[in-house]
Amino acid sequence: MTDDEILRTLTRILRDLLMDDSITLSMQTRREDVPGWDSFAYINFIVALEMEFGVRFKVSDVESFENVGAIVKQTQALLS
């Protein structure tokens, strides 16, 4: 799976969560760039992502992701 494919899936998950089809994530997107992507929405996003890809992050990873790109890279690492 490519980074772009993961990114598109993450965009879909967040759109569904926040009910906002105008959201488009990039590798550089940070949580604070997306209105409504607060700590609870972030957890729900991570859990939905884990279910989608069948992966499980460490809490320390979840706390330290600086942007969407870091989430994509870690997802990629867990998938490989």
Binding site: M19, D20, D21, E32, G36, D38, S39, I43, V47, V62
Partner: protein, 492 residues
């Protein structure tokens, strides 16, 4: 299905939930979790104030959708998420965001903030077996929620809720949606609030979302069964399957961290040199909990006299006073009511003798909901609390005192690295630091000491997911010693 669109311009309905609304829904459903009905307890939760029952908001929205004929056909399923707390007294709007022959999407919003989302799939009910058989004995209607603190303790929970006793009242309370999907199903949905708030996860719960499909239940079935089918101890998530009384689906909630208890004076005392604070009299604004309560215990353990103030937590303040007096004597602590936004002089008039030190731990809810990058009203409120309130308090104490007083001003590391959602808080705290410098130059009888505190474990930092925090005692003891070392202005 049409695509989701930005929130529509015109609200379908508006409402401001009041305290009497809360009590009515709590009475009807039995969900009297204190986060919904007790302002003193609710202020120590992640919400910081009393929260509208999420299911109450959702059923109100469904009732309005039916009343206005937006929803008129059969309902197949209802999916609801609660991304933000709705606090009492806030005017909310119901907006339809998309509508097609198969689905209606709506939100409950405050300005541009989405508080609740609803997706209603249209179609008929289904004949399905209940995923959860409500066979366990019915528990008595609880007056107090069950208390769980460890996620592993609820991983196997299951039980049953009784729809029958409240089906008529809830049917009348939500007449339109009851006419549409049946009062038994409305009641079953309403009792999901009771399930989360009173049973599982109970006292320390936050309702996150639910999805229910409408089913054809046997006519006599008036119970909803639940069973925990997933937990995640990393994020303290609990998911349950629910079924019965015409619904079948899933519920997700968080087991939130309980209110933070600071160390007891017995635990603190070994770290304090006996008598090291003797002769001082410290007024501790906001001393009924958190860092204020800890400071009072430290000073009292060192032989100082303390006067703690409370805004709402009278009972909590009384407990702190009792604890300190038991350890340090009847003169070691007293408590007074104090509102940092009101004239301090009359509020402090009852304090006998000189006050040598002021510790200003008055606080507002810091991580407030926002719908803009900068909210001027929020800055005004923080400035009133953290700048003007501090100054007026110090001035009132200094005016009563025969000698210079020393005041401690707790600033924040967020003044250096400010989260995007805390700009107004950081601005007000930075202004408070400048005020301290100004007071020290002004020779006005107030020596002010400001320190930028790191994140320490308090009610406001006990978040989901957990964020690294430091031990409050480790942070505060050196600072208290620095502030208290100003011996010149103490009583002999």
């Amino acid at each position: 299905v049409t695509s989701n669109s930005p929130i529509s311009e015109v609200p379908l309905a508006t409402r401001t939930f009041t305290e009497s609304d809360q009590l009515a829904f709590a009475r009807l459903t039995g969900d009297s979790n204190p986060i919904h009905v007790d302002v003193v307890t609710a202020r120590r939760t992640q919400a910081g104030d009393v929260v509208v029952h999420g299911v109450h908001g959702a059923l109100w929205a469904l009732d309005k959708l039916v009343e206005t004929d937006v929803l008129s056909g059969g309902v197949a399923s209802i999916a609801v998420k609660f991304p933000k707390f709705i606090l009492l007294g806030r005017n909310v709007e119901l907006r339809v965001t998309s509508r097609s022959a198969r689905e209606i999407a709506a939100v409950i919003a405050i300005g541009s903030m989405t508080m609740t989302t609803l997706v209603i799939s249209l179609g008929g009910t289904r004949n399905v077996d209940d995923a959860v058989s409500p066979t366990t004995p019915l528990p008595p209607r609880r007056t107090d929620p069950l208390v769980w603190t460890r996620i592993e303790d609820i991983a196997q929970l299951q039980g049953t809720l009784d729809v029958a006793p409240c089906v008529n009242d809830l049917g009348r309370y939500f007449p339109h949606v009851s006419a549409c999907i049946g009062s038994d199903r409305v009641t079953a949905i309403a009792l999901l609030s009771t399930l989360v708030g009173m049973e599982c996860p109970g006292l320390h719960s936050l309702f996150s979302s639910f999805t229910v499909r409408l089913t054809e239940s046997p006519a006599a079935q008036t119970r909803v069964g639940y069973r925990v089918n997933y937990t995640d101890d990393r994020f303290r998530i609990v998911r349950m399957a629910v079924g019965g009384a015409g619904i079948r689906g899933d519920v997700q909630a968080f087991l939130r961290p309980p209110a933070v208890a600071q160390k007891s004076i017995e635990e603190i005392a070994p770290a304090i040199v006996p008598g090291e604070f003797k002769g001082s009299a410290a007024l501790i604004i906001g001393g009924s909990r958190g860092l204020g309560a800890l400071t009072a215990k430290v000073i009292a353990a060192g032989g100082g006299r303390t006067i703690i103030t409370y805004a709402k937590g009278q009972a909590e303040a009384a407990e702190i006073v009792e604890e300190i007096r038991k350890h340090a004597g009847a003169q070691a602590c007293s408590a007074i009511a104090y509102d940092a936004l009101k004239d301090p002089a009359p509020q402090l008039a009852s304090i006998a003798g000189n006050v040598s030190h002021v510790y200003y731990f008055a606080t507002a809810v810091i991580g407030q909901q926002r719908d803009a990058p900068f909210v001027p009203d929020m800055l005004d409120a923080f400035t009133a609390m953290y700048v003007t309130g501090f100054y007026e308090c110090c001035r009132a104490v200094a005016n009563k005192s025969e000698r210079q007083i020393t005041a401690f001003y707790p600033s924040t590391v967020f003044a250096e690295k400010t989260p995007l959602t805390m700009i107004e808080y950081a601005m007000a705290k930075t202004a408070g630091e400048m005020l301290c410098q100004h007071l020290n130059r002004s020779n006005c009888g107030i020596r002010a000491i400001a320190h930028r505190l790191p994140r320490v474990l308090t009610d406001q930092t006990a978040t989901i997911p957990p964020v690294a925090t430091r031990d409050p005692m480790e942070v505060m003891l050196p600072l208290i010693r620095e502030v208290q070392s100003t011996k010149a202005n103490q009583d002999d």
